[in-house]
């Protein structure tokens, strides 16, 4: 495809790509740079797109900018792992610490729709106690939000994404029925189920953001399993095919290939707009409110890069916490081989799950929890895994790949604790826009290690119980990043309040995974979207009281 949206912007001249019709367009409202809009939003992923949609539907004027392209999934996505690296954020970054993070495919996205364009669609609610982790469970920090309120927002997001899930969910307080039914299990998922039954713990079909029945012009899932490299059928309910089309029809403007470099503040200490780079030049969009939703690395980077004399340590940073308490989630796996063919790559990668160790606290020598899911690595990823984990290459790698169809695996999403030393700071090096690049420092703590050890031992037992052979452990992997601008009850111990509003600059908001005080053992996107829905409701309520800057 010569132009797949990566070279020149597609959303302009009053129209944006229609993701549901090849070559089609939908009309789009446009604002001029000089016109101060009610909200300019930086980033259109799980947090930004959801908020843009909701605010536009509430009648606010909204412009949402994304550094990435505006893809047309039906046309631009190839069933080719190498080609699809175009979906990742691969700009320069420096990583260090005892356990440096591997940044890219597994923890970033750069596109309209953000990381959700190639996420694995696992859509979980948090365990209620996690919102009060410090008081109820004795670790991490409390969220300033009550779980019952979140429960209602989770429902809103599940409906908006037509999540397909089990008829009854085995853990946690009751939740409404998922809007769509669960997908059929593949052999990898049945292997997880048999392991759980052998060890006497519960399992269920994973609630997934991919369609098990048609929805409008989006097709149901075809089970080809290219989910983490983008979905070319639109079955995946990414932000790109859900919130963004809604946002457009409610009057929001989306600007693709628009990299924000700096938030401008005035002498009163209020935000007045953003400097962004598009079509080879720097521009300035005026706004009454600025929302940052760039993911847990780019969000603190932008706040730090926007320092002024008045805010020398960066915006919203009077607590000194911007960039701190970065949390990855542990992503260790145990692999084995079955005698029979498994073909684990058929279908979405994680069709079955157990949240047993998220809800059960007995028998743990660590704080926090983890879920584990069945796996379906694509061939190139699997070859890489073999090459890195076992140093296989050449003939031995080819030999190993012949057994690919028999591979079965279990992988955790595990809670890591917030630590101030795990953080994003600015390096002196600069990127292609001339902006200082982020330095990402990460080290596991003892609790993280104990959780990982527990999960590996347990999953190894689960695989032995179903007679898998040649069981081995993939020790070093992490996924989803959160934290770095935590929400809380007090200005000295958090960056934003429960409404995602900065304590220091009342018209600066942060609305993405950065605001998480803790991460739990569940994939974060549903929670990010629920928080965004709540934030939109709060902004509407506050604006009615005259407490939002709209002049």
């Amino acid at each position: 495809m010569s132009d797949d949206g990566r070279h020149s912007p597609r959303a302009r001249d009053g129209r944006a790509p229609d993701v549901f019709r090849p070559g089609g367009w939908v009309s789009m409202k446009e604002y001029s740079d000089h016109e101060a809009v009610d909200f300019v939003i930086v980033g259109t992923g799980a947090g930004g797109a959801t908020l843009a949609c909701k605010l536009a539907e509430y009648g606010f004027s909204v412009v949402a900018l994304d550094a990435g392209p505006y893809f047309r999934p039906l046309e631009d996505f190839a069933s080719d792992e190498s080609e699809q690296t175009k979906l990742y954020w691969t700009d320069d970054r420096i990583v260090d610490g005892d356990n440096p993070l591997q940044l890219g495919s597994n923890n970033s996205g750069k596109a309209v729709g953000g990381s959700t364009v190639h996420f694995a669609m696992v859509s979980l609610r948090f365990r209620p106690e996690w919102f009060k982790a410090r008081t109820k469970l004795g670790y991490g920090a409390d969220w300033p939000i009550d779980w019952r309120e979140m429960w209602a927002y989770y429902t809103e997001v599940e409906q908006a994404l037509k999540i397909s899930g089990p008829v009854n969910y085995p853990w946690g307080p009751p939740r409404p029925r998922y809007p769509y039914r669960a997908h059929p299990l593949n052999a990898a998922a049945r292997a997880l189920a048999r392991g759980c039954e052998a060890l006497g713990i519960g399992w269920t079909e994973t609630p997934l953001a991919t369609l098990s029945a048609p929805r409008g012009l989006a097709h149901p899932c075809v089970y080809r399993g290219f989910c983490v490299t983008g979905c070319s059928t639109n079955a995946k309910q990414s932000a790109l095919v859900t919130w963004i089309p809604r946002a457009l029809s409610a009057g929001a403007e989306i600007r693709d290939l628009a990299m924000v470099g700096r938030i401008e503040t005035d002498a009163n200490g209020l935000a007045v707009g953003v400097h962004y780079h598009r079509q080879d030049k720097w521009r300035f969009q005026r706004a009454r409110n600025v929302v940052v939703a760039g993911y847990a690395i780019e969000t603190p980077r932008l706040l730090l890069n926007s320092a002024t004399d008045k805010f020398p340590s960066g915006l919203a940073n009077s607590s000194g916490l911007v960039g701190k308490n970065l949390m990855a989630q542990a992503n260790q796996a145990v692999w084995g081989e079955m005698d029979e063919e498994v073909r684990s790559y058929k279908g979405p990668p994680s069709l079955a799950i157990t949240e047993h160790w998220n809800y059960e606290d007995d028998g743990k020598d660590f704080f926090g929890g983890y879920a584990y899911m069945s796996q379906g690595p694509l061939p190139q990823l699997w070859a890489n895994t073999q090459a890195t984990a076992h140093g296989l290459w050449g003939a031995r790698l080819v030999q190993e790949m012949k057994r690919y169809n028999h591979v079965v695996g279990l992988k955790i999403v595990g809670e890591m604790l917030p630590q101030e030393n795990n953080r994003v700071t600015l390096a002196d090096e600069r990127d292609q826009y001339g902006l200082r690049i982020p330095r990402v420092t990460y080290s596991w703590c003892d609790n993280d290690r104990r959780l990982i050890d527990h999960s590996i031992a347990f999953m190894s037992r689960a695989l032995s119980a179903i007679h898998a052979k040649n069981i081995w452990v993939q020790e070093d992997d992490t996924c989803h990043l959160n934290g770095t601008a935590r929400m809380g009850d007090r200005p000295d111990s958090s960056v934003v309040n429960a409404d995602c509003r900065s304590w220091d600059i009342p018209n600066l908001w942060i609305c993405d995974g950065s605001v998480f005080p803790t991460v739990g053992g569940a994939n974060p996107s549903l929670t990010i979207q629920a928080i965004a829905c709540r934030t939109a409701d709060r902004i509407r309520a506050l604006s009615r009281l005259g407490e939002v800057n709209l002049n």
């Binding site: 039914r181 669960a182 299990l185 029945a213 149901p220 059928t233």
Partner: protein, 258 residues
Amino acid sequence: MLAASVLADSAVEHYRGSFKNKAMLTPLIVAGLTLAMSLHGTADRRPMAHQARDASYLSAAVTGLLGTGFHIYNVTKKVGGLSWQNVFYGAPLGAPMAILLSGLLGFCSERVRANGGRRRHRVFNLPAGETVATVTALGLLGTSGEAGLLHFRGAFHNPLMALPVTLPPIGAGLLAGAVVNGGARPRGLARWWMRLLVGMGFAGVGFHAYGVSRNMGGWRNWSQNILNGPPLPAPPSFAGLALAGLAALELMREARNA
């Protein structure tokens, strides 16, 4: 008609299962035979029951029972046992019952035929019209249950998906009403309702065809989407049952007028 629908549906579904088990051919042969026999019966003008036809109808009934057994076994041996997952995606529990039904209905029609011109037809010494009406009513309920299950699997994403779970049970109720009243009261509504169900059965094919088109690639990708999408041959089984219902009402009318 029911036999034709069963034949096509089980052919498609068992083809999808690549006939993994040899027994998966049985329903095809039996439903094929039932269909052939009833065509034969229709063409045959002699007013007597035919042994070959009887034999095939009864074997259809037995196949239906055995098939149900097999399908239950298939579902319960899967991990998770009798769970929504396996009831949705395992071997359909209700489907083989349709063969049983087509056998039973065929058998009944042979008895009616054997009675020749007599007005009071009897099957196993029961009044024929009532028997056929009862079998049909049960068939409508069962088929409706099956449609309900599969449409629930599809999350009733289209409101029209509610039709086959609401209209047929009402039809079954009307047939039952006719049986209980001994046909004393006017059966106009029941007859009218059976015609509605015939229409629904055929319209259903159209809706299922639309459903197929909504899968990736639409009809251009027919070879995959016919297997993935809603089953085209399923809805006419309602039409087949409703036709049997009409016949039953007619028999009851004749019996009363005799």
